[in-house]
Subunit: 196 residues, 2 copies
């Protein structure tokens, strides 16, 4: 593995996820999920940000957005945005993502899910942080809509505990959840950051 | 002060902020800034989420969005969203926010800015966390566009250090920055959260 790489990839899943009554659905891609999560991923040193959707028209839409910021007018207007969007890779299924990573890194990554509810197979933030520091290949999974479908929870290795402050309300956007979780896993203490 | 209150308010400033070449401007309100930041604020126990814009048409737009989720169709479709949006209060200027808080809490809050760059008058996260635990009235300021204007930086008490991971890239959305900063200030360690 390239020494500049962290070993950590993230994936935003649009299918299979569940709706508010627990049925498995496919959700539509949200423009700000592409931007915000790529910007957070780039800020925290994530290697790739995979977006999974089985729908071809959604792939077309995402490619048009990426083109605008990576090579179109957006690239001149705001080059830093294109730099973040270089992280984005589109795939049709989670299995395709795992296969892509297997080819890139030479082995299957450790699959870690995230959830607003406590799940079985829990792994703490400090434990996962230590594994990231050892550059173990890790894929962190985030769900859209009302969360990852049960079949994904079953096929993965561990689940991170919910973030929050114990207020009894826990309805973060996936953009917020990714930001908080990456800061807990990769964030540098304030006195260790030197300005670039 | 009500014992259920944290003492912490946040404000998202749309004027005065700076554009990419450092000129003072007023920015437009982004729909997802209303939603994401209210959801994060409610999850972390913030008392009020102030939105500052001097433009009357922007107030009208925000009130329509709030009405939809607090009393309109959105309130039936997703009651949890309305609960988060109860935190939102619209004001025309930062001075108006400070006056509202002074009336609510009986004193002027400590004004804390946030920035992607290191500023003078720095206050660490652990130091501010301790002051929040003592329920000192605090107003945390976030800027839209390319950040809070210099006159705001000058009138405030302290600035939090930039968040991130020391990668040299630091272009978080304000939605992500709010999420990470509230988790650093109010987040509960994983083993202390019990499911609601």
């Amino acid at each position: 593995m390239n020494n500049n790489q962290s070993g950590l990839d993230i994936v935003l899943v649009h299918h299979p996820v569940v709706n508010k009554i627990g049925e498995t659905i496919g959700s539509a891609v949200t423009n700000l999920d592409i931007h915000d999560i790529a910007r957070t991923g780039k800020t925290y040193g994530v290697d790739s940000y995979y977006i999974v959707t089985p729908y071809k028209d959604q792939h077309k839409l995402v490619y048009e957005i990426l083109h605008h910021w990576k090579s179109g007018h957006g690239a001149t207007y705001n080059p830093a945005r294109g730099e973040a969007l270089e992280l984005v890779q589109l795939e049709f299924s989670l299995e395709d993502v795992i296969e892509t990573i297997r080819r890139k890194r030479g082995c299957k990554p450790l699959l870690i899910t995230t959830s607003a509810r406590t799940q079985e197979k829990s792994l703490g933030y400090s434990q996962l942080r230590a594994r990231i520091e050892h550059k173990e290949p890790i894929l962190l999974l985030f769900g859209t809509a009302h969360g990852l479908a049960p079949e994904i929870m079953e096929m993965t290795d561990y689940c991170l505990p919910p973030v929050g402050a114990g207020t009894g309300y826990n309805h973060l956007s996936v953009r917020s959840a990714v930001s908080i979780i990456l800061d807990r896993l990769l964030g540098v203490p304030e006195d260790a950051i030197t300005e670039s």
